[in-house]
């Protein structure tokens, strides 16, 4: 075996030597197949789980919604949130939970006023939209006039309450919401996976 001088030695010294001379080019190509595979799987997964309707209500961190299997799609409405800390309309805090719990079975006055205001605002917005639709309907060139419209869509209220809250407090909120003029009352729930329900015999 030849004896070399100590010091730095290149492993591919032959190639480098040749490269230096410009006789042969070395090109390294990255294998992209695995990455493309991963991207494809990820895109398929995300598209499958994609919800076009989006998140239409704000859920505070402390609220854990109950789960249900037989559900409907959530529609935009006035949202009354009942957590174990406070009662909110949208993101606005109205009254503390303890204050509501201490009350008898009666209307919650501050909440009543706020729900009335929210419903009034909702009605005004709905009327304005309806006016625009009517104007469009008058125009014969516009084909977007045949959609069925629910005339009571403005007075829908969604109650989202934490699953651990006692039913009496929920009843007080429901009574107040009803007194404020709400027509349709819905409960916000989390979608339960059907397979799990089947396993439980439900």
């Amino acid at each position: 075996m030849a004896i070399h001088k100590p010091g730095e030695r290149f492993r591919y010294n032959k190639i480098l030597k040749k490269r230096q001379k410009g006789k042969r080019e070395v090109t390294a190509e990255l294998s992209l197949t695995a990455m493309v595979d991963m991207f494809t799987v990820l895109v398929v997964f995300l598209l499958q789980n994609y919800s076009a309707t989006g998140e239409v209500i704000y859920i505070p961190k402390e609220v854990q919604l109950p789960k249900a299997a037989k559900i409907k799609e959530l529609k935009p409405s006035v949202v009354v949130t009942l957590s174990n800390k406070e009662v909110l309309i949208g993101r606005k805090s109205i009254i503390t939970y303890d204050a509501v719990k201490a009350m008898d079975y009666e209307v919650i006055q501050p909440l009543l006023e706020e729900v009335k205001l929210a419903l009034q605002k909702s009605k005004e917005e709905f009327d304005a939209k309806l006016q625009q639709r009517l104007k469009k309907a008058v125009n014969p060139e516009d084909p977007v006039a045949s959609e069925e419209e629910d005339l009571n869509a403005w007075n829908k209220v969604t109650v989202q309450a934490d699953k651990g809250i006692d039913f009496l407090t929920v009843k007080k909120v429901m009574l107040t919401v009803s007194e404020a003029g709400a027509g349709e009352l819905n409960f916000a729930v989390m979608k339960e996976v059907e397979k799990k329900a089947e396993n439980n015999g439900l």
Binding site: L32, L47, E55, K70, E73, K75, K163, F167, N186, E192
Partner: protein, 157 residues
């Protein structure tokens, strides 16, 4: 990349598609989907003929469901479920400290078989029980085919 290269001898031909635009598209799509993804799937449960619903003059009264004269009521009490169907009362006590959801479902399915056209029902929950029990009861009733559920304000009997 993105070329057809013939081997040295000219016999072997390898075709490599240009993956760069594809990867660009995938990257943009994944970024968009991840940003706009909604991970919490919130839905709603509607009270059929709500007793809380305010009847205004311009609101037409809801149509009376078939077999509405046959009462169906589910009481959720701390000691279990109680079903009142026509003149029959069925008690479903707690099983190992848990509500007998399977039994309730079976009884409601039986009720549906007896009165296939009946869609209305009522549920009453004890004040001290958590709200989750109301949703659970309503969900089981909806699953059994009773779509118009009323929530009773009074305490269960």
């Amino acid at each position: 990349m993105g070329h057809i290269s013939s081997g040295g001898s000219g016999r072997k031909k390898t075709f490599e598609p240009n993956l760069v635009p594809f990867i660009d598209l995938m990257s943009v799509l994944i970024t968009f989907l991840l940003i706009t993804a909604v991970w919490t799937q919130v839905s709603m449960m509607q009270i059929g003929t709500s007793l809380y619903s305010k009847k205004t003059q311009d609101t037409p009264p809801p149509p009376i469901p078939k077999d509405a004269d046959v009462p169906l009521r589910v009481d959720v009490k701390p000691d279990g479920y109680k079903i009142i169907l026509a003149k029959q009362t069925i008690q479903l006590p707690l099983i190992a400290g848990e509500f007998d959801d399977v039994g309730l479902k079976a009884q409601l399915e039986r009720a549906k078989q007896l009165y296939p056209e009946k869609t209305d029902g009522a549920i009453a929950v004890a004040d001290e029980l958590p709200y989750e029990k109301l949703i659970r009861g309503m969900d089981i009733m909806l699953n059994a085919g009773f779509s118009a559920i009323s929530v009773l304000t009074g305490a269960p009997k």
